[in-house]
Structures are given as structure tokens and as C-alpha cells.
């Protein structure tokens, strides 16, 4: 009876889908039952055979072509649904608000903040300046852009609308939400790679926070600076085993990154999960035809260290 139960659950065990107690029970049984141990071996072997059918990564050309084709269609497509819902189903909206205290509270806070923001704008004249005769000209460095220039007909009166910026400073600990938000913003959008590097470096100190890990994955995928990508790798290293999305990002970097240093580092980080079918597939591809001799050799070495399945 016990062996029958094991045979029914061995697939889930191999896929790491058994609950802890069942897993423990199964392992205890395996320790003393040679038949079931043989069954486990056979299941693992079969699992590996099936992984011989590789999951092909879509080529960059295919991804780009698909995106372009979609963009063309989206340009001429209207979104549906929202207007219909607003007009025809306001009761559903009200129900949603009534049954979602958090959403209701958020709406109140947003409304309150908007009120304060509006009052602030009225008192300060807002971020958009309007230069008229008699006012002091702004410092050139504080102008971020000119919105419009117009002359009143029949007069020499000129109206210029411009946006201003002023440098501000924020201080706080890494746990401070405002600081985290600024770091996340800087890691993604700053044109200065030094600032991005510093931000990513600081973010790696808290890579278990959801948006932080997301930002590190983003930096690894899209940052133009290899130093920033290496920093992001540092922060992601601990999650290669537990987080498939991190693993996917690393596999992408291993295959496509333009920098050999980043690829080499990625290869080493992926070693502990080399048995994963997608990692194996990538390693096989690299071992066969990678342009970089070192990576090719390393991939071969890692594959050679793995057990044979046939």
C-alpha cells in the first residue's frame, strides 16, 4: 500500500510539488525500499529524457517583428470595456468600493492629497511659470523647458510659459519608502550611469523586496552599462535557485548579453541550477556554438559534470 502511494506521488516529488510532510514521508520510505528507489531513478531519468526536447528561446528578430506587428494593430485599435462599464454598470463600481475598504481608503487619501496639491499650486503658481513684464526673470538653470511663446496681437506684449525645476534633497534610511522610490526611479531612468550604478548598488542591499528585485532584473536586462548589470547580478545571485524569473533573466543575459564579463559571471551563478531543463538547454547551445571560447569550454565542463541520462 505504501509503495503504491509512493508510485502515485513520485512524479510530484520529482517536480518538487509535494507538501513538506508528504515529502518527508516519501523520503523516509525511499531510504528503506529498493523498489521505490529504483522507481525514483527511473522517473528522474524519464524526466531528463523529456527535457531533451528543448524549449527554444524566441529569437530577438522574432520578438522585434512580433512587437512591431502588434504596435501597428494597436495604433488603430480602440480599447473597449471601461466606458461601457462606467455608463452601464455603475452599481458594480459602487459595490467594489463598498467591499474594498483598502480601495476606499486609498481613494480618500488620493482625494485629500490632490486637494492639498491643488491648494499648493494655487498658492505657489504651480510648476509652470508665466513670465510677464515686471516679474524677475528666473535663473536659467531652473528652467527645464519652454512650453509656449506668444505675442498679443497689436502689442509688444509677449507671454512665455515655461517649466521650472529645482534641485531637492531627500535623506533617510534604506527602509524609508521615499528613499526606496527615488532609488528605484534612479536605477531605471537616470541618464547618468554612475547614478544608476550607485542606486543599483544600494538596492542590492535589499533584494528581497519585490519592487527592488524587479528593478534589478530590469537593470540586468536593459541597462546599457555593464558595470550596472554586474551590480544587478550581485543582488540577484541569492535568488537563482528560488525564483524562476530571476533564473530566466540570468539565462537571457547568458545568451544575449554583449559583455563577456557579465556572461561569465552569469554562467557561474547558474551552476547550482544546472540540472534545470531550461539551464541545460542553454548550456548545450553554448557548448555547441558559442562564439566565446571560454564560455563554450565552461558550458561543456558544466555539462560534463552532470550525470548522463541515456
Amino acid at each position: 500500500m505504501k509503495c503504491e502511494w509512493v508510485k502515485e506521488n513520485i512524479t510530484l516529488y520529482v517536480y518538487n510539488e509535494l507538501a513538506d510532510d508528504a515529502r518527508y514521508e516519501l523520503e523516509q520510505h525511499l531510504a528503506r525500499c529498493t523498489d521505490c528507489t529504483a522507481e525514483l531513478k527511473s522517473t528522474r531519468k524519464f524526466h531528463a529524457v523529456l527535457s531533451e526536447l528543448p524549449v527554444e528561446e524566441p529569437s530577438p528578430n522574432l520578438v522585434a517583428a512580433s512587437r512591431m506587428r502588434l504596435q501597428e494593430v494597436l495604433e488603430t485599435t480602440q480599447q473597449g470595456g471601461l466606458w461601457h462599464r462606467l455608463v452601464f454598470d455603475p452599481a458594480a463600481w459602487l459595490r467594489q468600493v463598498r467591499f474594498s475598504p483598502a480601495l476606499a481608503a486609498t481613494l480618500v487619501i488620493v482625494g485629500f492629497a490632490s486637494g492639498i496639491g491643488t491648494a499648493y499650486k494655487i498658492l505657489n503658481g504651480g510648476g509652470v511659470g508665466q513670465l510677464a513684464m515686471g516679474t524677475n526673470p528666473p535663473l536659467e538653470s531652473s528652467i527645464s523647458g519652454i512650453r509656449s511663446v506668444s505675442q498679443a496681437p497689436g502689442s509688444n506684449q509677449v507671454t512665455i510659459k515655461y517649466d521650472t525645476v529645482s534641485t531637492q534633497e531627500a535623506q533617510g534610511t534604506l527602509n524609508d519608502q521615499r528613499i526606496q522610490q527615488l532609488l528605484l526611479f534612479a536605477a531605471r531612468d537616470n541618464y547618468n550611469s554612475g547614478v544608476r550604478m550607485d542606486s543599483v548598488d544600494l538596492l542590492t542591499q535589499q533584494p528581497n523586496a519585490t519592487p527592488v528585485r524587479e528593478a534589478l532584473i530590469y537593470a540586468l536586462r536593459y541597462d546599457s552599462n555593464p558595470g550596472v548589470r554586474l551590480k544587478a547580478l550581485d543582488g540577484l545571485a541569492a535568488y537563482v535557485k528560488s525564483d524562476p524569473r530571476v533564473r530566466d533573466a540570468l539565462l537571457e543575459a547568458l545568451m544575449n548579453d554583449s559583455n563577456p564579463g557579465v556572461r561569465t559571471e552569469t554562467l557561474h551563478l547558474l551552476e547550482p541550477v544546472r540540472a534545470d531543463s531550461s539551464v541545460r538547454a542553454v548550456l548545450q547551445r553554448l557548448a555547441e556554438n558559442d562564439q566565446n571560447q571560454y564560455i563554450k569550454t565552461q558550458a561543456r565542463t558544466i555539462l560534463a559534470e552532470m550525470p548522463e541520462f541515456d
Partner: protein
Amino acid sequence: MAGQSLGRIDDTLLVREAQRGNRAAFEELVRHYDQAVLRLAIHLTGSEHEAQDVYQEAFLKAYKSVATFRFECSFYTWIYRIVTNLCLDHLRKKQVRKEDAPVATDSTGEQYDVLEQVPDARAGANPERDLMRRELGTRISAALEKLTPRERMVFELKHYHGLKLRTVGEVLNTTEETAKNTLFRATQKLRGALADMR
């Protein structure tokens, strides 16, 4: 759950923007998931061309109905649900047509093996090993084609795409328990079909 919780906060902001009609936000969401969508569709349909059609239809559907998305599940689950439904339709049609998996018909009406058309870009490839790999791939593909569309989908999502069975259940609008049973059935069938390869 693969990637589900990770991008949730980021996605939520983008989804809200997309719901306001911000196309750039929607396109950013597309970029978050489109490689995974293509990967799944290519593996399931066996054709880049058909995968592109699935991609196009899935994201277009998502764009048209993003305003009705109510955050009852993650955007990740939602988009996967759309894609898997399209792929299931594709698999069902394919089963009805009873086509042999790797055979297609060219413009002159002649049949050819699709797998033979896949270019081998590997430098210095070993022909004997290639042949074995190809044969192995063909046999596995044929065995996968014999599964029911639902068994195939559960197996694909679990084995080849590494999703947790809980997520597979959510994506396919069923329970984790049903997904487990389906995976078990699929595995048994595959072992039967590929018994001589073990």
C-alpha cells in the same frame, strides 16, 4: 508562483495606466511578458508563424479588455489564461484535423517534415548526434501530441515552463488538485508512449 508576485506592484501601476488608455503602459506590460508568451506558443504550436498569430491575438484581446481587468488575479495569470485558451483552441483544431505532427504541405501540395526545415546553426555539429537528437525530439513531440489538449497544456506549463501547479490551476481555471491529477495522467501516458527510451 513563477514571477507572479514579483512584478505585481510594477504591473499594477502599468495596468492602471493602460486602463486609462495609456498605450505606452500597455506596451511596457507586453514587453514584460511577450518573450514568455512566444516561448510557450512556439513550443506548443511547433511553428514560429503560428506562435506569432497566438501572440498577436492574445495581446490584442488583452488590450481590448484590459479595462475590465479587476485585479482578482495577477496580470501574469490573466495574460497566461488568454494565451493558454488560444493555444488550447489551436491544439483542439489540430487534433480534429488529425495531422501528423511534423508534416506540413508546401505550396505545390507536397508534404514535408517540418523538423527537417529547422536550420542547424551549430558550427561543427556532429551529424550522428544531431540525427539522434532529432529522432528523440520527433518521438517526444509525437508522444506529446497524443495527450489531450488539457493534459498537454498542464504538462507544458509544468515541465517545460516550470510553473507551480497552483499557478497552472489558476491559469486553467481549475484547482491545484485537478492540475496534479492531470499531470499524473499525462506523465503516465508519456511513459507508456516512450517506454523504450527509458
